[in-house]
């Protein structure tokens, strides 16, 4: 196989797995932003919380990565549910700018707490042996870790889709999304549905944050540093559209990975250029429905 092609294929896998991780982190935000109309700038901080809890469980409790990961995700979901029932009730009452300020305040607090507990240094989760190394398939070198991230994200995204399409809860959520008032009239407890959705979204972010530490390393300022990235994934995808988030995360992950490799001089610039171009052509995002 020609060298250029194999490089391209390897990069494609890297880009797609990076994109899928971005999708995991940002899919919860598209629901809060697009459906609940809440500017939640704390969302990326939940990814960090998930990552740090997993890290702490592995370090202090000596848990295996595959045990610590689900526990960390569940712990983050519990935390987010508590916050949603308490502090976010204030956030819901504000106008967009107030929501933005309040949630960025929450991100500041989370950042400070994490910095106090975990220290200011950059950390990443030590992967178990099973995920290290590379596979050689037809002259291609594929990192096992990347394939793991890719497989896990695809599985989660698939489960999410099945849950939305074929379960009662999914039907309720879709109803609440399409027309909250009408959904309430037919007896759906819309706030409860949104609470659970919020927690699931945060859990997905936590999962993305925990498995993605090799791509986006953990640090106290994670919540602020990668906030922009998460926001643009949602904005490009179109607010409130799960499908849009998937497309935009894949597209941006792909563009970013390719851009950094083939045009290193431009580095991280390309992704933002792409974002601007997409938003100019389609101000409502790729799959925009709510303007």
């Amino acid at each position: 196989m020609p060298n250029a092609l194999s490089t391209f294929l390897t990069l494609t896998i890297d880009g797609v797995s990076y994109g899928m991780m971005l999708f995991l982190i940002s899919v919860g935000l598209t629901i809060t932003l697009g459906v609940m109309r809440v500017v939640n700038l704390t969302h990326s901080a939940f990814a960090m919380i998930g990552g740090f809890i997993t890290l702490w469980l592995m370090k202090s409790a000596g848990m295996h990565f595959f045990v610590a990961l689900p526990v960390g995700v569940l712990a983050t979901m519990a935390l987010s549910l508590v916050l949603e029932r308490t502090l976010y009730q204030w956030v819901y009452k504000c106008d967009p700018l107030g929501q933005l300020l309040m949630t960025i305040g929450m991100t500041f607090v989370v950042t400070a707490v994490v910095k106090n507990l975990a220290g200011p240094q950059i950390q990443s989760i030590v992967l178990p042996e099973a995920l290290l190394g590379q596979w050689s398939v037809m002259g291609l070198n594929i990192s096992v870790y990347r394939v793991f991230v890719l497989g896990l994200s695809v599985a989660v995204a698939g489960a999410l889709w099945l849950c939305l399409e074929y379960t009662t809860f999914g039907a309720r959520l879709r109803a609440a999304v399409d027309n909250p008032r009408m959904a309430r009239c037919v007896g759906i407890n819309v706030p409860l549905v949104f609470s659970i959705t919020f927690a699931i979204g945060c859990g997905l972010a936590a999962l993305g944050g925990a498995v993605g530490t090799q791509m986006l390393p953990l640090e106290p300022y994670y919540g602020l540093k990668y906030l922009v990235l998460v926001l643009i994934v949602v904005a490009v995808g179109g607010l409130g559209s799960l499908k849009g988030s998937l497309y935009s995360a894949l597209l941006l992950g792909f563009i970013d990975t390719m851009g950094r490799y083939y045009i290193p001089a431009l580095g991280g610039f390309i992704i933002y250029l792409a974002v601007l171009a997409i938003l100019l052509v389609r101000p409502r995002g790729l799959v925009g429905r709510i303007g």
Partner: protein, 328 residues
């Protein structure tokens, strides 16, 4: 004509532009800083720069209802423009400020075309994307901007050929303060003029203003461009006084900080921006010296509480208090 009626006319003129005691107090505070705060002049100059920056955001956000999470774009463009002008053309500071204003204004004019087509969340995202784009551009164009190391090594000539920038920062502070007064007066004039009034109308009810025959898009565009140019002035001042421009002048943190300042001070009142800048910069400087991590937590809590209990900020609080006092 007697001197008394002259004085009376001056008072009338100030009233017409709605100057009040708060403005006088701020001038006094500046004078006291100059007299007694000799060790804090660098900090005071930074306060003044941030005040101008917050004022520029107040014009867009408080009066025009244009929400921005990327106002640092204009600050940074102004800063780099002033620094590059000083480096390659002339070290004369006043023309440098004009260059900074024009450069940032042009960026505002062009980006306004995209930003003002949208509203609400998309608008926030778009301003954010533009600012991040410029940040990455400055990071990539190392030949021009020196990348991470920051642009420095340029001279700034004495202001009007008379006032040399001194090591203690007297000139820097006075220079920045004079610019602040000019900007403030210009904004007072602007927001009380017909364009400022219609802008407030657009903020409250865009459809109605359109029906009244106001060219909504054009008004907002003008407002946004002026706001960008003023942010550029703030950036230019920062470049001239600090003699260095780094990537942080374009960073998201700065955009977020100025939004926070305005929220603390209160939007749509101009002096709210001044209060907010003073409060934020002084507190964060003091607190950062003591304990930067916990300061961030305190700031977060304060921000949450302010939005919850005093959504119109410190200035709104003062306004309510003085209204109450007026009733007695």
């Amino acid at each position: 004509m007697t001197t008394q009626s002259d004085a009376h006319r001056v008072v009338q003129a100030f009233r017409r532009q709605r100057y009040n005691l708060a403005d006088l107090a701020l001038v006094l505070a500046a004078a006291l800083t100059l007299l007694f705060g000799e060790y804090y002049l660098a900090l005071a100059a930074f306060v003044v720069i941030m005040a101008i920056f917050a004022l520029s955001l107040d014009l867009a956000q408080g009066y025009g209802g244009i929400e921005s999470l990327g106002h640092a774009a204009f600050f940074g463009v102004g800063a780099y423009a002033a620094a590059l002008y000083a480096l390659h053309f002339s070290s004369e500071p006043v023309s440098g400020l004009l260059v900074a204003a024009v450069a940032a204004g042009v960026v505002g004019l062009v980006s306004g075309f995209a930003v003002l087509r949208t509203q609400g969340l998309t608008q926030l995202m778009l301003t954010l994307a533009i600012a991040t784009l410029l940040y990455e551009l400055a990071n990539v164009a190392k030949a021009i901007t020196n990348g991470d190391d920051g642009l420095s090594g340029y001279d700034v000539a004495p202001v009007f050929g008379l006032f040399q920038f001194d090591i203690y920062g007297y000139t820097g502070f006075v220079y920045a303060f004079v610019v602040l007064v000019l900007v403030y007066a210009l904004l007072k004039k602007l927001v009380n003029s017909s364009i400022g009034q219609t802008a407030q109308g657009i903020r409250e009810n865009q459809t109605r203003m359109r029906m009244l025959g106001v060219p909504v898009e054009r008004r907002l565009w003008v407002l946004y461009t002026i706001s960008a140019a003023l942010a550029g002035v703030a950036g230019g001042l920062s470049a001239q006084i600090n003699r260095i421009v780094g990537l942080d002048s374009l960073a998201f943190t700065l955009s977020a900080n100025v939004v926070v300042m305005l929220a603390l001070g209160g939007t749509g009142r101009l002096y709210g921006a001044l209060f907010g800048a003073i409060l934020f910069v002084v507190l964060s400087d003091r607190a950062a010296a003591i304990d930067p991590t916990n300061w961030l937590a305190v700031l977060g809590v304060v921000l949450i509480l302010i939005v919850r209990y005093a959504p119109d900020g410190l200035a709104g609080f003062v306004a309510r208090w003085s209204a109450k006092r007026g009733q007695k």
